[in-house]
């Protein structure tokens, strides 16, 4: 009896010990992933989508070519076996499928699988017709030469996924839906320039602008222009869009024209789509089902594509290079990077953020004590080692850039260089009278000694703090002392006028963040540096010129741009404005960010995209 209990006790203790040791051993072994493929039993093969009907299941073994098993081949030619489920992973989850009420990119992309605009941008920033038969231009008479209107021709015979006809009325309705302020469309700005949308005939629609518009493709194009079905949303104009029960249901299950329709949607978790039999090109759609799963973090999303191959496509892998590169190195996936996600830049404060000024702090009429000196701004730009930041921190997710406007390619200025030159930077400061005292330069201005000590703020993000550290040491070399500050992103980027730490108030000397144009026409983006856009207490700090830069020369160029309708001349003007901003040191561009998506090697079709959804052409993807 006693010996029995002893044995039992021992084995119990041993079992516990074992439980503790196994993970430790496994973790050690885990460092050589190459050593264990033999131990991975068939369980390693994720049995894709057990809910799908077995006939449609191609059990796509990623390495095996489509040589085997003609058992389930339906009517399609034997080239590639169609069907199966396309699995997409976002680290943010889709919460609504009505793109006009979206709260994030994930919502636009979730809607993209169902809904379509008239045209979308491809990876080369060119327009591709979707519901439209062709892209209207001045040459084919679609765009009025005076810029007052644009006329779109639709593809004939378009149908909604419920079988009803897609008509011009649906386009008119979508405009009316978002033009109503109470609907509170996220996409309202692209409908604002519209004076009227009218039906010419069954497949022709004419959009008239409130004033001559240099960008005829602003409305009904790209993610902001997806068209809703009038029949479904008719009663949802105004506040009812969010409060009426039928409209709430419609927002979560819109009827669309794209290759799939909704099968199941769990907001904040997963969307499953199934084939739309009424799609105009249904025969050429490869996948039977599409799944967009959301949540988790970007690093494990990358692993799910590149290491476990549980999903086919993962979006927006914003991960430091040190983490991302080993994952991509597995060789099972392709990163898709290109275009631009925005330019990471340092904004220079032209107003004085000195707390001693009280209410007048950072107001446009308070000039900055030393950043108004062009020598200091240029010296800062010269001293920064963009190459080191790009190579050590961004890796495949960013390239050094000297321009603040990099996309589309036609407006990316070829004129500027921004090689690091510490000696030139020192000389600039020296010549401007900034003398080194100890490790910091200073100068007598109006009887006061001004020292080059700058505060440098940005949002909390490991990448940005590492960048701050590099810049701090770069500037220390030329005698500028940097005090870094990091602010929670939800505060820094909020427009909260009551919070002192927003980027609009800019209570610091330098600040860093990413921004870029939202459409191929740069006018809206370039507007952010004109004098009238300067943020101040008078306008609740909600204007976009946060650096309080004001240059009559730049304003004159902007006035010219506003009036110019010729695309070529507009591009020239835009490049001129970019060059002026950068050479004047209004802004210090650092990195062109190209946040990559990743796909498994077998998946064909995904491209990077600057001005449209990452899954803009999803109907043509195959495996």
């Amino acid at each position: 009896m006693r010996s029995m209990r002893n044995v039992w006790r021992r084995s119990g203790a041993l079992a516990l010990l074992l439980i503790l040791i196994i993970p430790v051993l496994a973790a050690c072994g885990g460092q050589q992933p190459a050593a264990q493929p033999t131990t991975a039993p068939p369980a390693a093969q994720p049995t894709a989508a057990p809910t799908a009907p077995p006939a449609a299941q191609p059990t796509a073994a990623p390495t095996a070519p489509p040589a085997a098993q003609p058992t389930a081949a339906p009517t399609a030619p034997p080239a590639a076996q169609r069907g199966g489920r396309l699995k997409i992973l976002y680290w943010q989850a889709v919460t609504t499928l009505n793109p006009h009420l979206a709260t994030g990119t994930k919502d636009f992309d979730g809607a993209t699988v169902i809904l379509e605009p008239l045209a979308r941008y491809n990876e080369n920033d060119e327009l591709v017709p979707f519901l439209a038969a062709e892209i209207p231009t001045i040459e084919n008479g679609g765009v009025a030469a005076d810029g007052t209107s644009v006329t779109w021709k639709l593809k004939p015979g378009l149908k909604w996924s419920d079988g009803s006809d897609f008509t011009v009325d649906d386009i008119i309705f979508t405009w009316q839906y978002c033009a109503d302020e109470a609907t509170a469309c996220t996409t309202k700005a692209v409908f604002d320039p519209i004076a009227n949308v009218e039906k010419i005939d069954d497949t022709t629609v004419k959009i008239t602008w409130k004033e001559p518009n240099a960008n005829p493709y602003i409305s009904f194009v790209g993610p902001n222009g997806m068209i809703l079905q009038k029949k479904q949303f008719e009663k949802c104009i105004g506040a009812a869009a969010s409060t009426d029960a039928a409209c709430q249901a419609a927002n979560l299950a819109p009827i669309g024209t794209n290759a799939w329709k909704l099968k199941e949607f769990k907001p904040g978790d997963v969307v499953i789509y199934e084939r739309n039999p009424f799609f105009r090109d249904a025969d050429n759609v490869f996948f039977d089902e599409v799944e967009i799963k959301g949540g988790g973090d970007a690093a494990s999303a990358a692993r799910a594509v590149c290491e476990t191959e549980e999903v086919d496509f993962a979006w927006n892998l914003q991960i430091p290079k040190a983490v991302l590169e080993p994952i991509l190195a597995s060789g099972k996936c392709d990163p898709l990077a290109g275009g631009s996600f925005g330019v990471e830049r340092i904004v220079v404060n032209f107003s004085n953020p000195d707390p001693a000024l009280g209410d007048k702090r950072s107001e446009p009429d308070q000039p900055h004590p030393f950043l108004t000196d062009p020598a200091v701004r240029k010296a800062i730009s010269l001293a920064i080692n963009r190459k080191a930041i790009a190579e050590q921190l961004y890796g495949p997710t960013g390239q050094p850039t000297c321009n603040v406007l990099v996309v589309p390619a036609s407006v990316n200025s070829p004129n500027l260089t921004c090689e690091r030159d510490v000696e030139a930077a020192k000389k600039l400061l020296e010549d401007a009278g900034w003398k080194l005292k100890g490790s910091v330069r200073e100068k007598e201005i109006g009887g006061k000694t001004v020292r080059l000590v700058v505060s440098f703020q940005t949002s909390i993000n490991p990448l940005r703090q590492s960048t701050q550290a590099i810049i701090k040491s770069n500037l220390a070399e030329i005698g500028i002392q940097v005090n870094v500050k990091a602010i929670d992103a939800s505060v820094f980027f909020s427009g909260d006028p009551g919070n002192p730490d927003t980027l609009d108030k800019f209570y610091a000397d330098l600040q860093m963040y990413t921004n870029g144009p939202s459409n191929t026409d740069p006018q809206q983006y370039l507007q952010a540096w004109i004098c009238d856009e300067r943020a101040s207490a008078a306008n609740q700090w909600n204007r976009s010129n946060d650096g309080r830069y004001c240059n009559p020369e730049y304003d004159a160029l902007f006035e010219q741009l506003k009036k110019e309708l010729d695309p070529k001349k507009r591009a020239e003007l835009a490049i001129k404005m970019n060059d002026l901003l950068v050479t004047d040191g209004a802004i210090i561009p650092l990195i062109n960010r190209q946040t990559p998506n990743a796909k498994v090697k077998a998946l064909k079709g995904p491209t990077f995209n600057t001005f449209d959804s990452s899954i803009w052409n999803i109907a043509s993807w195959s495996k």
Binding site: T187, T308, S490, F493
Partner: protein
């Protein structure tokens, strides 16, 4: 007894009101904006965001919003989520099953493991078993779940490929395959939670047993000639369970709240994940609903624990 319960329920009402007020005030005063993601998007200018804020009622002062929220709640309306523009309560009902199944299973397993380990550890104090169990408990206490979770994921999902890392909430559980798949995808998150919860319960069980073991009634039982096993199970364990049962009852509401970190890590679409994403997106109605339901459950289970205490321990009298 009935009078005691009634009094407790009446006290609960103002308590809950104060709780809801404090949570609302904190949320309202914290910075954030449901459209913060679009802060720099020139296609969504500040004027558009302002319109949306008005539509959401965020232009009003927070105390006005609180009164509105409370009166709507009195009519049974939890409001609509800023993210889905759909009813909040639908979201919660959608999330509850996954949380109950994952966090609930973990809690159950933790209780089933912790009690025997705690008992043996106490009876065989300072034995090898006790040392190992104590060591394990301290690991469970001190290693945060995001670390255990990531380590398990790296080893068992990525290197060994035994388990998936993407939780699939749309499995068809009617078939055997679906059930196996469900167990596979639950394995890692449940393990992470069990490690944590077992640690606390084991220590509690052990100390409660140790409190009882040297008492006179134990000696009396032994003196009667009862077998060692009988003394432990019939007498010591029963009495030691009293505080433990209270602890377990108080832990039940936390099942509802889900496991924020673990759920997020493994992409389990539970309440915890809903809560954290709603906080990040400043989706106030959802955050309010979850925290308030959690507060109600905590108050309720506090009461249940107190009543259970009286049932289990005849020395406790309610007056």
């Amino acid at each position: 007894m009935a009078q005691y319960v009634l009094r407790r329920v009446l006290i609960a009402v103002p308590t809950l009101l104060i709780i809801s007020f404090v949570i609302f005030a904190i949320l309202a005063l914290a910075p954030g904006d449901p459209l913060a993601q679009f802060a720099l998007n020139p296609a969504i200018p500040e004027s558009t965001r302002e319109l949306i804020r008005i539509q959401f009622g965020l232009d009003q002062p927070w105390y006005v919003r609180y009164v509105k929220w409370l009166t709507a709640l009195a009519r049974g309306d939890w409001g609509f989520s800023f993210g889905t523009r759909g009813p909040v309560i639908d979201l919660i009902w959608q999330r509850l099953p996954q949380t109950l199944i994952v966090v609930g299973t973990a809690y159950l397993i933790a209780v089933l493991i912790a009690i025997p380990i705690g008992v043996i550890s106490a009876v065989k104090q300072y034995s090898l078993f006790d040392q190992v169990a104590t060591f394990a408990a301290f690991i469970g206490f001190s290693v945060p779940s995001f670390f255990t979770g990531l380590a398990l994921m790296l080893v068992f999902a990525i290197n060994l490929k035994w388990f998936p890392i993407v939780y699939n909430s749309t499995l068809n559980l009617a078939g055997w395959d679906g059930i196996v798949e469900q167990i596979r995808q639950m394995a890692l998150p449940v393990t992470v939670l069990v490690v944590q919860q077992t640690a606390a319960l084991t220590r509690f069980m052990r100390s409660s047993m140790l409190d009882n073991l040297p008492l006179d009634y134990v000696r009396t039982a032994r003196a009667k000639g009862l077998a060692d096993r009988m003394v432990i199970i019939r007498h010591v364990l029963r009495n030691s369970m009293i505080p433990v049962v209270t602890l377990i009852a108080l832990g039940i509401p936390t099942i509802f709240a889900g496991a924020i970190i673990t759920e997020n890590l493994f992409r389990v679409n539970g309440i915890g994940q809903l809560l954290i994403t709603s906080i990040q997106n400043s989706d106030t109605p959802v955050v309010m609903a979850i925290t308030f339901i959690f507060a109600c459950l905590t108050v309720l289970f506090n009461l249940i624990a107190d009543i259970l205490y009286g049932v289990l321990d005849p020395r406790v009298r309610y007056s």
